[in-house]
């Protein structure tokens, strides 16, 4: 089977990319989704707060997903559900597996990677202690509570103050559980402000910063966890241990872009984000293979996922219509300066770039009153003051084609923070 545009993943990124491909004149658009419905992780994110940017109203996750599912339906986007992509080759031959169709392959002209991300498991944290029942990643607990209507426990400690952890603190509380503490190893929370306010403060749930789990007790089911303060090297400080009896430990310790397939097909990945290295067209190192959403880098708001995926769809449509364009003119790398952990995109081609290119990035620490700066060569082309930059929130700058055109061979683009210690 030969197809024009194949999107791997039917979550928010995949849906927005599909809609965009259709809107940009590509008729043959196929979504491959391993789940039994479209919408991805949004279907279990039943809290509200989605869509303020996209729809100018506050929606819940399933409602936000439904809007895009509706748009995809209106445009006759084809989707194969319960279909697992088991392999993609470098030349874009996709091997799929499903109950109904068995093993089959698709030759794609363009592939959009939209597989999303997964949660960091306990092993990655190397938390000592027993391995009883009652330890869940926050997302697993969220699925039990919000999809299946089952409670994973009654007395809960949450490790990590990522958004899913914060959201689950409120969910478990509203369903009758007692959330005893949220421990965060960093001196600040990785979650959104509104979630700290509405999920913890509203219910009097303590957020313990610079604190981690140093022991888990219980042979069959969790009986207690031991928290301890950590020093600035994140090493537990002896004598600060606090044993909290509980039957459940939820882990919300970060998300990892799910790029096993990308890696297999030869897409180059960033060691910082774990996502593909892309240019201003969201094209990976393989021409015609694009990436968007959380598989590219973990986003804070779904609205930005949709926005990025819409762009990926547009660029993929151009690729399909025009074929692989030779790279005329130079390629410039966007380097990260002080305070900036990574940027997406990583490279730009001034000759091909659209009039405006959005560069998204995250900072590595909490910075008060920073100035976000973009340098092209020696010249500062953008300087913007902010009250605060925090690792939990994605930042963006918009760079102009006109500025890119002024770049001379060998010059660098640098995104950095200034006015910071």
């Amino acid at each position: 089977m030969k197809r024009k545009a194949v999107i791997i993943g039917g979550g928010p990124a995949g849906l927005a990319a599909a809609v965009s491909l259709k809107d940009n004149g590509i008729e043959d658009v196929l979504i491959l989704e391993r789940g039994s419905s479209l919408g991805g992780i949004l279907t279990q994110c039943i809290h509200n707060g989605f869509g303020l940017h996209t729809f100018k109203e506050e929606l819940t996750g399933p409602e936000y997903a439904a809007r895009f599912i509706e748009m995809a339906k209106e445009r006759n986007v084809e989707a194969l559900l319960n279909t697992m992509v088991v392999d993609i080759s470098h030349d874009k031959v996709i091997t799929c597996m499903s109950k109904d169709k068995g093993i089959f392959t698709i030759e794609a002209e363009s592939v959009i990677l939209a597989m999303g991300c997964r949660e960091r498991p306990r092993g990655a944290l190397n938390t000592p202690g027993y391995r009883p029942a009652g330890i869940y990643s926050a997302g697993t607990a969220q699925r039990f509570v919000n999809i299946e209507g089952k409670m994973p426990g009654k007395e809960v400690v949450i490790l990590g103050s990522g958004d899913i952890g914060l959201i689950m603190a409120r969910r478990m509380t509203l369903e009758g559980a007692k959330v005893k503490a949220v421990a965060e190893i960093m001196p600040y929370s990785g979650g959104l402000k509104r979630n700290i306010v509405q999920c913890l403060d509203d219910f009097g749930i303590p957020l313990k910063l610079s604190t981690t789990v140093v022991d888990i007790k219980g042979k069959d089911r969790v009986e207690s966890v031991t928290l301890a303060k950590v020093d600035d090297k994140m090493t537990p400080i002896p004598g600060t241990e606090e044993v909290i009896p509980c039957d459940t430990l939820l882990l919300s310790c970060g998300l990892l872009p799910e790029n096993e397939l990308s890696d297999k097909m030869g897409v180059k990945l960033s060691p910082v984000t774990g996502g593909p290295i892309v240019d201003e067209s969201l094209n990976t190192n393989i021409p015609g293979v694009f990436a968007c959403g959380n598989v590219l880098h973990v986003h804070d708001l779904v609205d930005y996922v949709s926005e990025e995926a819409t762009l990926a769809g547009k660029f993929a449509a151009e690729y399909i219509k025009e074929g692989e364009r030779p790279i005329n003119g130079p390629e410039f790398k966007i380097e990260t300066g002080k305070g900036v952990r990574y940027t997406v995109p990583v490279t730009v081609h001034p000759d091909r770039a659209p009039e405006l290119t959005t560069v998204r990035f995250r900072v590595g620490n909490v910075y008060k009153d920073p100035e976000i700066c973009v340098y092209m060569g020696d010249k500062c082309v953008l300087r913007r003051k902010k009250q605060i930059c925090a690792p939990g929130e994605m930042e963006q700058v918009i760079i102009k084609k006109a500025d890119l055109k002024n770049l001379k061979d060998g010059e660098k683009i640098v995104v950095c923070l200034e006015n910071v210690l």
Binding site: I46, T60, E63, E148, I388, E393
Partner: protein
């Protein structure tokens, strides 16, 4: 005069908004009120509403009588007073509906006397 510092939740900025105010006839005396720390009007509106009438949208699930291992998500159609949140959550505990259900279907009218309805937020055929 009373003073409260709140984290504005309207956007990812999370402005620390300080509102200093006095109550007059159950309402804020807008003439003497000061709001600082906000970077847009929404911050001011948020601070005022948080000290006069804080509201929250409650989300949760209700059971599906004709589906195994599946509940359906719901929300309050409009935000409800913050102190009613636990009551609203409890009101959802034993509710069951029958599939198919669709976004916007009303499950409970005027939940806990808040004036807001509980509505379905996902489509289950």
């Amino acid at each position: 005069m009373e003073s409260k510092t709140l984290t504005c939740i309207n956007c990812p900025m999370g402005c620390q908004v300080t509102i200093t105010y006095e109550m007059k006839d159950g309402r804020i005396n807008e003439e003497t009120m000061t709001v600082t720390g906000n970077t847009c009007l929404r911050g001011k509106t948020y601070a005022i509403s948080e000290v006069t009438n804080p509201v929250r949208t409650v989300t949760g699930t209700v059971g599906l009588s004709n589906r195994e291992l599946r509940v359906v998500p719901v929300k309050t159609k409009t935000p409800v007073p913050k102190d009613k949140v636990p009551d609203v959550a409890k009101a959802l505990a034993d509710v069951k509906v029958e599939a198919p259900v669709h976004i916007g279907d009303v499950v409970i009218k005027n939940v806990c006397g808040t004036g807001s309805d509980i509505v379905i937020t996902d489509n289950i055929e």
